[in-house]
């Protein structure tokens, strides 16, 4: 074991970690928004919206993320050329949105109808009901599956190294190729990934503890 070699690659690792963090963070936000819209479409009374949402989930949930990443990086239609970072965020967001849509839909459906009726009886319009009752409530109900999904996204983001995004995995590979020290170079990357995912679980723990008052 020669951990000393890591020090000469440390900057590369840190830059990679920052890229991984940016990709994951942005993708989580974008996929949440898309997922929420898809979930609402799926639950809407307008049949075409329901159908579109169903098709989206069917299509993008069934395709490998790697395939989507290649598609957005190499073969965008109309001669459009995306840089690797943008293609990575779009690919991961679009794929995760399909999973998030299903999680969020189940959350919205399990909001107590009585809570919504109470809001309606007080005169809240549909938008106010959504903003004041449904969304806060679904965040509570959804936290555990939602964090799980986000942990998966952190790990999925390692795939973007294949389309030349210089993330943490890319840094680890570079270090490995130059030194041929498997345990050290990949071990450090593994520890950093674990740190990030542990942080997410801590977020879940803190949120759950804070929300315990109102079941």
């Amino acid at each position: 074991m020669d951990w000393g070699i890591i020090s000469s690659y440390w900057d590369l690792y840190m830059q990679g970690t920052w890229v991984t963090f940016k990709i994951t963070f942005l993708s989580i936000i974008i996929s949440t928004v898309i997922g929420y819209v898809l979930a609402l479409m799926r639950l809407s009374s307008v049949a075409p919206l329901r159908g579109m949402s169903f098709l989206y989930v069917w299509f993008f949930r069934g395709l490998p993320v790697l395939l989507l990443l290649f598609f957005f990086y190499y073969t965008m239609p109309f001669g459009l050329k995306l840089d690797a970072f943008t293609a990575a965020i779009i690919g991961i967001s679009i794929s995760s949105a399909a999973f998030k849509a299903e999680i969020i839909r189940s959350g919205i459906m399990s909001v107590d109808k009585g809570h919504l009726e109470a809001a309606e009886a007080l005169g809240m319009n549909p938008l106010q009901k959504m903003g004041r009752i449904t969304i806060p409530r679904t965040f509570r109900l959804l936290l555990p599956p939602y964090i799980s999904n986000s942990v998966i996204m952190v790990k999925e983001s390692a795939l973007v190294s294949i389309i030349t995004v210089q993330d943490l995995m890319f840094a680890a590979q570079r270090a490995f190729n130059n030194t041929f020290k498997v345990a050290e170079t990949l071990g450090v990357a593994g520890m950093i990934y674990l740190t990030v995912t542990t942080l997410l679980m801590l977020v879940q723990y803190v949120c759950e503890k804070k929300m315990r008052t109102g079941v």
Binding site: E120, A121, L122, M124
Partner: protein, 273 residues
């Protein structure tokens, strides 16, 4: 104040409300009684459009309620926006309270005024404090619903509805989900409200409330108003259906069944071993 004419409500082939007409004057307290499945709750929920009638006319304070149902039989998106005036005038109290569990008592009460009426927080809190004083729960202001008893939760729910300063209050079996010893604390508040001149429609199984507090009692059966009248007249009615319904409310225990149960439960562990 409330004018309901020829109201019908159909679920598939089932006729839940069959040509119901009812007028309620300002300050009047009307109790609706009757066997389960008679359409009492549906009638109440039609008044503030939580349930959309299939046909019929409803006027609140002389203003007709325009409603339109979508294919699922619920209020259309547009009607929901247009009917906020109705909900502001008509308060509703549910059997299961339906307090929002993640909001404190105070937050539950000021939610309506702040969000729907766009009232300032200070003003809403002031109103909420007055109402909590009225229902005797000022000290529970910062508790969460789960920390309260059923009776206390229902009192908060009443305060929440009153915070919108409605002209009419609808009560949908407000004491049916409560332990017997908690019923009176809720009824007391309803009596107080009735005395203050609030227009109230109460679906209830509490016959003493129907008898002593309401101005008129409606007896519903199979989606129709079978009888309507003063409490004295209705409770002494020679109508056999009413008499039968009232007699069923006395919880007589069939003594012939006793003696079977204990034996049965004593045998169980032996057969299991």
């Amino acid at each position: 104040m409330i004018d309901i004419r020829e109201l019908n409500k159909q679920f598939g082939k089932h006729l839940i409300l069959d040509n119901v007409s009812l007028q309620v004057g300002e300050g009047e307290v009307v109790s609706i009684i009757g066997p389960s499945g008679a359409g009492k709750s549906t009638l109440l929920r039609c008044i503030n459009m939580l349930e959309v009638p299939t046909s019929g006319l409803i006027e609140i304070g002389g203003r007709p309620v325009a409603y339109k149902a979508n294919r699922q039989g619920r209020l259309t998106y547009r009607s929901q926006f247009n009917l906020t005036w109705l909900r502001a005038e008509v308060g509703m109290v549910f059997q299961q309270f339906h307090l929002w569990p993640s909001k404190t008592v105070l937050q539950n009460i000021i939610e309506g005024p702040c969000i729907v009426k766009k009232m300032s927080r200070e003003k809403a809190v002031k109103i909420a404090e007055q109402l909590l004083e009225k229902v005797g729960l000022l000290d529970k202001m910062n508790d969460y619903p789960a920390q309260l008893s059923g009776g206390q939760q229902q009192r908060v729910a009443i305060a929440r509805a009153l915070a919108m300063e409605p002209k009419i209050m609808l009560f949908d079996e407000p004491t049916s989900a409560l332990d017997p010893e908690l019923i009176n604390e809720v009824l007391d508040i309803m009596v107080k409200l009735a005395k203050e001149g609030m227009t109230m429609i109460v679906v209830t199984h509490e016959m003493s409330f129907a008898r002593h507090v309401s101005d008129r009692v409606v007896f519903m059966e199979k989606g129709k108003i079978a009888q309507i009248g003063s409490p004295e007249a209705l409770f002494r009615s020679p109508d056999s259906r009413i008499a039968q319904f009232l007699s069923q409310l006395d919880h007589d225990i069939d003594t012939s069944l006793m003696g079977v149960e204990p034996n049965h439960s004593r045998q169980r562990p032996e057969s299991a071993g």
